[in-house]
């Protein structure tokens, strides 16, 4: 019996690199993509969400009138489309201003705009878009009263589909609607207008200052309130 030499190193310890197949490389790349959050590029908002909107989840953003919800939705669309991802806006209130979205940084060529008339159409449309592979679907339920809620099983189905597809479904609504299906709920507590000028001098709307509170599932109440200022582009 000869003693075997132990001077040969195992392939893995030869260096810092390793050979993988192309399929494995693609799988790892897809995993990395799934785990990377979709940042809205608003650090205050992203700070409440572990760096951005977590892929594969349903996230709710709710709050009263003029509390910055629509702007956050546009910021998410801007971030996704600028990164080269396809995004969709299900606009139940038909509120989108294309020029405003463009000024907010949304790459309109990558944005699919759906203008449903009823909540049922909005939910069905969101489901189709998630199934088609859109990385981000913003479902904005508008401003009209009474606010639509939808059946709980519809939200569960949407959350499951977002999870399967590794997509982000951001539901923007006046009040929470998805029940326990949301991974996180961000509430805009109040919005305060910021004006330039005082007294009798001409006024100019400079933006809105909002307070946000975030609650995440299966975690203690670790949400934080922070100020987020919106400033209108100087004309």
């Amino acid at each position: 019996m000869r003693a075997s030499s132990s001077s040969e190193k195992s392939p893995r310890s030869c260096g810092s690199s390793e050979l993988v197949t192309g399929a494995e490389l693609l799988r790892r790349q897809a995993e990395r993509g799934r785990s990377r959050p979709l940042a809205t590029r608003l650090p205050v908002f992203d700070g409440l969400q572990d760096g951005g909107l977590t892929r594969g989840t349903l996230i709710e953003l709710c709050g009263g009138r003029s509390t910055g919800r629509f702007a956050v939705g546009l910021a998410a669309l801007s971030a996704a489309t600028r990164a080269g991802e396809s995004a969709a806006l299900v606009d139940l209130g038909d509120h989108l201003d294309p020029r405003g979205a463009q000024e907010a940084g949304v790459v309109l060529e990558r944005l699919l705009w759906l203008r449903p008339r009823r909540l049922k159409e909005a939910l069905a449309g969101a489901e189709m878009l998630l199934a088609a592979g859109f990385a981000l679907v913003v479902l904005d339920l508008g401003e009209r009263r009474p606010g639509p809620e939808g059946p709980p099983e519809a939200w569960r189905r949407l959350a499951r589909l977002a999870s399967e597809r590794g997509a982000v479904l951001l539901v923007v609504a006046p009040s929470p609607v998805s029940g326990g299906s949301a991974e996180a709920v961000v509430t805009a507590l109040e919005g305060r207008a910021v004006w330039l000028g005082e007294g009798l001098s001409p006024r100019l709307l400079a933006g809105i200052s909002v307070r946000l509170w975030a609650r995440r599932r299966r975690r203690p109440e670790t949400g934080a309130t922070m100020s987020l200022s919106f400033r209108e582009e100087k004309r």
Binding site: A39, R41, L42, G84, D97, P98, M128, G133, L205
Partner: protein, 499 residues
Amino acid sequence: MASRRACLLVPSFPLAARLRAEPEAGGAALVVLSDMRAGARVVAASIEARRAGVGEGLTWAQARAMLPGLLARERQAPGEDAARRALLSAAEAFSPRLEEAEPGVVFLDVDGEPDEKGLALGLLARARRERLPARVGVAGGMTAARAAAESCEEDGWELVPAGQDQAFLAPRPLSCLRPPATAARTLERWGLRRVGDLAGLPEGEVASRLGREGWLLHRAARGLDARPLVPRRPASSFSDGAGFDWPINDLPSFTAAAAPVLLRLAERLAEHGLASRRLELAFELDPQGRESRALELAAPTADARTWLALLALELERRPPRAPVTGLTALAVPEAPRAAQLTLFGPPALSPDALSTTIARLAALVGEDRVGCPAAKDTRRPESFGLKTYAPPPPPEQAVEGAGSVSNAAFTAVRVLRPAVPLEMLCVGEEPRRARSLDAGLPIEGDVVVAAGPWRMLEGWWGEDPVERDYWDLELSDHGLYRVYYDLRRKRWYADGIYD
């Protein structure tokens, strides 16, 4: 170098076209009739029917009398057109210079082809894929090539060596030259039976007695074509079609009938490395008439299932105005988009899934409510454009951190469409209290801060000018609104909520 011509021949073409659309009828004693009226005549007969003595030219009544169990089908132009195009498509794969002499007969210029046997076998294989029973002949001229093809069995081929056309034709009957009726009777009276008999006569004597017709026949008998091959211009579109035996007025049956048409079309596109984003459809209606539709896709595809899904959605949304007796589909070809398999960039949407999804969304909400938003060159803030959603391919590298990082973002406005009429209490020209007249969108409160007015004028030279004084209002209901006073209608409206 001596010329070489190949002939791709489908005998009894009307029958072959019919069996292509209805393969289950193969093997039966079957004839194709000119029409289904009384006195219709047989234009093609299957082998089983011919064995019983049924041939072209007989009336249906005569044919039935000879063979009581005989089946009949009506001749159908869409199916024959589709079969013609399929045969040409098969031939195009082997030579760009080809001529369709008549339906079912295609000549190819194969000068310089080193492997004529391989060419013949390839043509036959391609014709089989198109479900057409073909034969191939290769010779120096078109006359001999066709005669060689006609002498073969089904799926057979014949090569006539170079310079041997006349010798090949010599023992064959004169009918293989397809002489005009008067010339044929004259030649028969002269006692000529074989092509070689005619070729052996002096050319001048034949011409002087039979005229130009006879002179051309004499040349053909010697293997000389009357004219050169006239190549057809290549097709710029792909099409296929089928006729139906009875009018179809329900969607499942139509889908089942249309599926083979779209499948053949998709296969042909794929063979040429092409795809299509526009499908033009023509429905033949019962009892008469035609209806056209077009399917537009977000990205080119050669997937028949996608087309079929879109067609079903389109017909669900807008059924044809009458039962359908035939379908022709034409695909405008273009280069397919390369499949996006990026290692480092974001994944692309599947063009097929995207096309089907957009079609389903259009069926759900209406075509005018789904698409890619576009800014319009107008001062009216409520204006918008909507175009077909066709996103560009994603970047090859993921763009990390796209856009600036800032706590400052542009103020967003929720546009109110249509604008909400308001009841406004003013002091002088300053708004002091607002209340909406739309119960679904409550706006009510005292004005806390008012900024404005800014006048907007547009289209003053036209028929529908716009003249508005805009204000930004903060109301006591905690909302921030963009409102305007319409100077022409003398009314207040809210057309946006800052959010």
